[in-house]
Symmetry: C2
Subunit: 364 residues, 2 copies
Amino acid sequence: MAAKKLLILPGDGIGVEVMAQVRRIIDWMAKKRKIEFDISEGLLGGAAYDVHGTPYPAETLEKALAADAVLLGAVGGPKWDDLPFDKKPERGLLGIRKDMGLFANLRPATVLDALADASTLKHDVVAGLDIMILRELTGGLYFGEPRGIETLPDGTRKGFNTLVYTTPEIVRIGRVAFELARKRNKRVCSVDKANVLECTVLWREEMIKLQKEEFPDVELSHMYVDNAAMQLVRNPKQFDVIVTENMFGDILSDCAAMLTGSLGMLPSASLGAADAQGRRKALYEPVHGSAPDIAGKDMANPLATIMSFAMCLRYSFDMATEADMIEAAVKAVLKGGLRTADIMQPGKAKVSTTVMGETVVREL
Amino acid sequence: MAAKKLLILPGDGIGVEVMAQVRRIIDWMAKKRKIEFDISEGLLGGAAYDVHGTPYPAETLEKALAADAVLLGAVGGPKWDDLPFDKKPERGLLGIRKDMGLFANLRPATVLDALADASTLKHDVVAGLDIMILRELTGGLYFGEPRGIETLPDGTRKGFNTLVYTTPEIVRIGRVAFELARKRNKRVCSVDKANVLECTVLWREEMIKLQKEEFPDVELSHMYVDNAAMQLVRNPKQFDVIVTENMFGDILSDCAAMLTGSLGMLPSASLGAADAQGRRKALYEPVHGSAPDIAGKDMANPLATIMSFAMCLRYSFDMATEADMIEAAVKAVLKGGLRTADIMQPGKAKVSTTVMGETVVREL
Ligand SMILES: CC(C)[C@H](C(=O)O)[C@@H](O)C(=O)O
Ligand SMILES: CC(C)[C@H](C(=O)O)[C@@H](O)C(=O)O
């Protein structure tokens, strides 16, 4: 079997530190499980701007397109806050998502037993939570044209963006949702605002049609986005798979992530269309950001990025055994009482990023 | 003093029942406090469609424009779900908001001591919560043009809406936010997605300018909408006034409402621009919807609508004493142990809509 081509983009802030721990896991896999990785590194976001004057160097895209999978840390930080809109670190992230065609963003929100009390929600409301938010990632308001800021003849300024989806864009994300649900509890809740936005009227119509034609075995329900935000707080366990457009998905997945009380634990996968061999372009990253306030202090939680690597093994390389091993090791370490600062609880042992990474490797 | 012209729009579902309880309070005010109300009733939403074939009869708008204030129950229900987009009950609500120019939607999220345990969040996270979400209500995606669904030459369909704000729209809602904050804790958090959407880049720029020029005594901070959804769950008490655009406000205010655990308790006010006499067009409604599942069962919680009437007295008629009286009566009734089904807790007495309304009047 050919070596697995992995591109690592540590990015900014704690991205660098947490990725260093993933490197340990990769080294272990290479040595102990004889898995050949062909690893390259690249720059994205503020780190890329500092070197190349752009958050999104052509070289990085080239490497990403050549890789079997990309691992990303996080981008952004106050250092780059005053840059013009098109130089900000976020442009790098949005650019690579778009150019790699990563339209399907999988954001599981799960609560591990050991961490159920870390949530601000009552124990019973979140214990055992295991939902999947599927966010459309390359359409909608994020990329719609026309967009911009204009000055009108009377001096007034006008800012505008376009929310737009076509049927193929809706159908392809719908398919991913139904396929995910088939491997879970066979329920998809499509979130829209079809009582107000025509764009999401189309979204709802296409979801209904798709379910009827291709996925009659999966249950489909619909919910308005405002109600979905409520229901996530009221009773998150009612959901199995939630599928929604880009902007709604950004908001709801962060809300869901916070329900778990341990943002530092949550991985994500962004997938493109399947090619003839069934392979998808893919990028894996933690749900948390670059956390500039704790960057460089060896305090960040590396587990979300480590779990993102597990997702990578599972989805891109079909290595379920190895993915399971990593997830089991993470659970064991938590059960053993080790905690980074973000998930610290009374009676547990507070450890650094490095110690957490080393301990996961030892557990493996 | 001239009689206060009040238009009552019970709307659909539980709207009718809860409004009947408000009528009791109004009668009491007229009789015991010698306040003259000139009351008319009108139809909006499904109820209007059933009679006039439109959710938004011209007559209703006429009455609304002639009134000093409008009280609304709620609109919508499955009965009208299959109507075409432009006949749905929601069109009535959106139409009246737009035509009355109600650009400022005040949605307080408060937790009364007696109900702090009703939340799915831990007691300490929400006890004493008192934040104000100010939602822009007549702009953004809800009303932006162009909008619609188009069929392209190749048969693909495309759905689109426009997110658009002009400087005057941003400035007028900003002013309301800063003025509200001056009467509270002098902190405004403006929520946007300025790292992605140009429209909200303009929003942020205008908020910064406005604060510098007119409200240097109020603190202004900015937060991305995804982070705001997280922070509401993590630590809602960090906020004082949140100001945001229409769609974000819809989502965040419902999320915040659910934090309180008692949606049936939350009022809202929608205000227009002040005229030369400082009077604003105004509509008051509960945050909850028409709740078709419990409609007609005398089970609904009338307190949100009663509290909306208190807001009406306070904001439209400058009757702070009477507004305080209503709010005190509601607190006393809850302290006395009465609960409608939605806020029922062990050891309390479950009562009907009618009994709740009667008891508030008795308490007055
Ligand atoms: C950094 C930002 C552009 C990004 C987004 O909005 O998509 C982030 O919030 C995310 O959710 O991955
Ligand atoms: C019914 C609907 C059109 C309305 C809105 O989205 O504004 C409602 O959700 C609200 O928040 O008042």
